[in-house]
C-alpha cells in the first residue's frame, strides 16, 4: 500500500510538469491553430536560465524562477515575431513545420550553452522528504504538483475572464473577424507564445529539481507532452491537466510494478507507456478526452 501511494505521488509530480507543457501547447494551438514543436527547447532554456540565475548569479530561488520565466517568455515572443508572424494566413501545417525549425535552432543554442554539464537549478527542496498519509514522499513531488496547478489555475482564470483571453479565443476561431473587432491579432499571437514560454520555463525548472538536473538531452522529456495533448484534446486546458497527471501516474506505476509483474516487457518499459496510451486514444477518440467537437446547427 505504501509503495502504491509513493508511486502515485511520484507520478502526480512528474505528471504535473507534463500538464504544464501540455497547457503551453494548448494555449498556442487555441490562439493560432499551430502545434508548437519548439516547446521542448523552450523548456530546456527555462531550466538553463533558472540554473544560471540561481546558482551562478546567486539570486534567491523564487526570484531566479520568475526571471527565467520572463526570459523564456521573451524568447518565445521573439520566435513568434521573427519566424511565425510571416506565416499568418498560411496553412497551420506549414506553420507547424516552421516551429520544428525553431525547435532545432533553439536546441542547438541550448546544447552550446549547456554543453556536457548537468546543471542543478538550485531548488530548496533537494532530497528532503515529508510524510503524506503516513507515507514518506519527496518534498519536490509535492512542490511540483502545487506549483504547476497554481500556475495553470492562474492562466485558466486569465483566459476565461479577461479581455485578452476572450480575444485569444476569438482569434483562434476567425482571425479576419477578430481584426474587424479591433483585436491586434499579431499581439495575441505574441502573447500566446510568451505565456507558453513562461510555462515551459517553469516546467524546465521543475524537471531539473532534486536529483534530476538539466542536461541538453532533457529536452526529450518534453516530448511526453504530445501524448498529453492528444489524450486531453488539443484545445482543452482542463484536458491537459487530467491527461498530464494520468500519464505521469501511468508511467510511475509501470516503473514500480512492471519489472516485477510483467518482466517479459523488458527494462524501461515505462518510457513507452505514454505513447501506448496516445495510440490507443487516437484509435477511439481522435479529438481527445476533452477536446470539443465543433458546435454546428444542421
Amino acid at each position: 500500500m505504501d509503495e502504491l501511494i509513493a508511486s502515485v505521488v511520484r507520478g502526480l509530480g512528474i505528471g504535473s510538469t507534463y500538464a504544464l507543457l501540455g497547457v503551453g501547447f494548448v494555449i498556442i494551438y487555441r490562439a493560432t491553430k499551430v502545434i508548437n514543436f519548439a516547446q521542448p527547447a523552450l523548456m530546456i532554456l527555462g531550466g538553463y536560465f533558472t540554473s544560471l540565475f540561481a546558482t551562478r548569479a546567486g539570486l534567491p530561488f523564487p526570484v531566479a524562477v520568475v526571471a527565467a520565466m520572463v526570459a523564456v517568455a521573451a524568447i518565445g515572443a521573439l520566435c513568434e515575431r521573427v519566424a511565425l508572424r510571416p506565416m499568418v494566413g498560411e496553412p497551420p501545417f506549414a506553420a507547424a513545420m516552421v516551429t520544428v525549425g525553431v525547435f532545432i535552432v533553439l536546441l542547438i543554442v541550448a546544447f552550446r550553452l549547456i554543453g556536457t554539464q548537468v546543471l542543478t537549478v538550485g531548488d530548496p527542496w533537494g532530497l528532503s522528504r515529508t510524510s503524506v498519509l503516513g507515507v514518506s514522499v519527496a518534498q519536490v513531488d509535492i512542490a511540483k504538483i502545487v506549483i504547476s496547478l497554481v500556475a495553470i489555475g492562474v492562466i485558466g482564470v486569465f483566459l476565461a475572464r479577461s479581455r485578452l483571453g476572450l480575444a485569444m479565443r476569438a482569434t483562434a476561431l476567425d482571425q479576419e473577424v477578430a481584426l474587424a473587432q479591433g483585436v491586434d491579432v499579431g499581439r495575441i499571437f505574441g502573447l500566446s507564445w510568451a505565456i507558453a514560454g513562461a510555462l515551459a520555463a517553469l516546467a524546465g525548472m521543475l524537471i531539473g529539481t532534486a536529483s534530476g538536473g538539466i542536461e541538453a538531452t532533457t529536452a526529450l522529456v518534453a516530448l511526453k507532452a504530445l501524448p498529453v495533448i492528444i489524450l486531453g484534446g488539443l484545445d482543452s486546458i482542463k484536458g491537459s491537466v487530467y491527461a498530464g497527471l494520468l500519464i505521469g501516474v501511468a508511467e510511475s506505476l509501470t516503473r514500480t510494478y512492471q519489472p516485477e509483474h510483467a518482466p517479459f516487457l523488458g527494462a524501461n518499459f515505462d518510457v513507452v507507456v505514454p505513447y501506448v496510451i496516445m495510440m490507443a486514444v487516437l484509435m477511439v477518440r481522435p479529438y481527445g478526452l476533452f477536446g470539443t467537437p465543433e458546435v454546428q446547427r444542421v
Binding site: 479581455r163 476572450l166 480575444a167 476569438a170 476561431l173 479576419e176 473587432q181 479591433g182 483585436v183
Partner: protein
C-alpha cells in the same frame, strides 16, 4: 448630376479606385456621408458595394483615392486600427464566433474599450475587474436594446438566422462606433424579421445618433429608411441623391431593368 453638398462629412470618399488584376471593382467613386446620416449604397450584384466596405475597413487596399474618416485618412490602415478609430461593421454572411456565447461575442466588441494590459489581466487586478464590470454593463444595455435577453447565454451557433443577424448588429454596437457599416442587414429575412431590423436601425439613429452606411438589395427598405442613396453599376457611381429622386433616375432604371426599348 448635382450632389447636395454635405457640410462636415464624417466619411469622405474621393476618387476611390480598386482593381483586382484587370478588373476594376470600384472605379473613381466619390461620396460623402454626413453626421447621423443613414446612407445607403445599392446596385446590381458585382457593382462594388461590398468592395467599398472592405476598402473603408482596411481589408482591401485600394490603388487610388482617399477615404477620410473625421479628417483622418483610412487608406493604408490595418483592419484592427480602423476598428479602433470607431468604425464597426456587420457582414453579408454573418461572421460571428459560433462557438462562443452571445455575451462573449458582444464582449469582444468591447475589446478596445478594455484598456488594461496582459499583466493586470493575468493577476485579475482591481483595474481589470472594474473594467470588465463596466463593460459588462454596456453590453447588457445593448442586449436590452436589441431585445435578446433570453438568448444571452446561448451559443451563437445554435441560433436561427434572424437572431444571428441581430447579435451581429449588437456586437457592432458594443464597439460604440461613430460609424456603422451594415452589409445587407436584412438579406434572407422574412417580412417580419425585416421590419424588426428596420425598427432597430431607425432606433439606433434616433437614440444613439450613430452614422450608418448600409449596403442593401431590399429596395423597399432602402426607399423607406435611407436619407440618401448611392447607386453603383460596374464599379461606377451612376446616381446619388434622395430616395425619391433616385427611383425616377433614368440611369438607375436602365441599370436595374435594362435599356428602354
Amino acid at each position: 448630376m448635382s450632389t447636395p453638398a454635405v457640410t462636415e462629412p464624417i466619411l469622405d470618399v474621393s476618387d476611390l479606385t480598386l482593381r483586382f488584376g484587370g478588373t476594376t471593382a470600384v472605379d473613381a467613386v466619390e461620396f460623402a456621408v454626413g453626421r447621423a446620416e443613414l446612407f445607403a449604397i445599392v446596385g446590381p450584384n458585382g457593382a462594388g458595394k461590398t468592395s467599398i466596405f472592405n476598402c473603408v475597413s482596411g481589408v482591401y487596399r485600394p490603388q487610388r483615392g482617399s477615404i477620410r474618416f473625421d479628417g483622418e485618412e483610412l487608406r493604408g490602415r490595418r483592419p484592427d486600427t480602423v476598428a479602433q478609430l470607431g468604425i464597426a461593421r456587420t457582414f453579408q454572411n454573418i461572421e460571428l464566433f459560433e462557438n462562443l456565447t452571445v455575451l462573449d461575442n458582444l464582449m469582444l466588441g468591447r475589446h478596445h474599450h478594455l484598456d488594461y494590459g496582459a499583466l493586470a489581466g493575468l493577476l485579475y487586478l482591481g483595474k481589470a475587474k472594474r473594467a470588465e464590470t463596466e463593460n459588462r454593463r454596456v453590453v447588457e444595455e445593448i442586449i436590452d436594446f436589441l431585445e435578446i435577453e433570453s438568448i444571452r447565454r446561448s451559443l451563437v451557433g445554435m441560433l436561427p438566422y434572424g437572431l444571428k443577424k441581430r447579435v451581429e448588429l449588437g456586437r457592432a454596437l458594443a464597439m460604440e462606433p461613430r460609424l456603422l457599416l451594415l452589409d445587407e442587414p436584412v438579406a434572407g429575412m422574412n417580412l417580419e424579421e425585416t421590419e424588426d431590423m428596420a425598427r432597430f436601425i431607425l432606433d439606433i439613429r434616433a437614440e444613439l445618433g450613430v452614422t450608418m452606411v448600409m449596403v442593401e438589395h431590399d429596395m423597399g427598405l432602402v426607399m423607406d429608411i435611407a436619407d440618401r442613396v448611392l447607386v453603383l453599376d460596374f464599379g461606377q457611381r451612376i446616381a446619388l441623391g434622395e430616395p425619391g429622386r433616385i427611383q425616377s433616375d433614368p440611369a438607375v432604371i436602365e441599370a436595374y431593368l435594362g435599356e428602354a426599348p
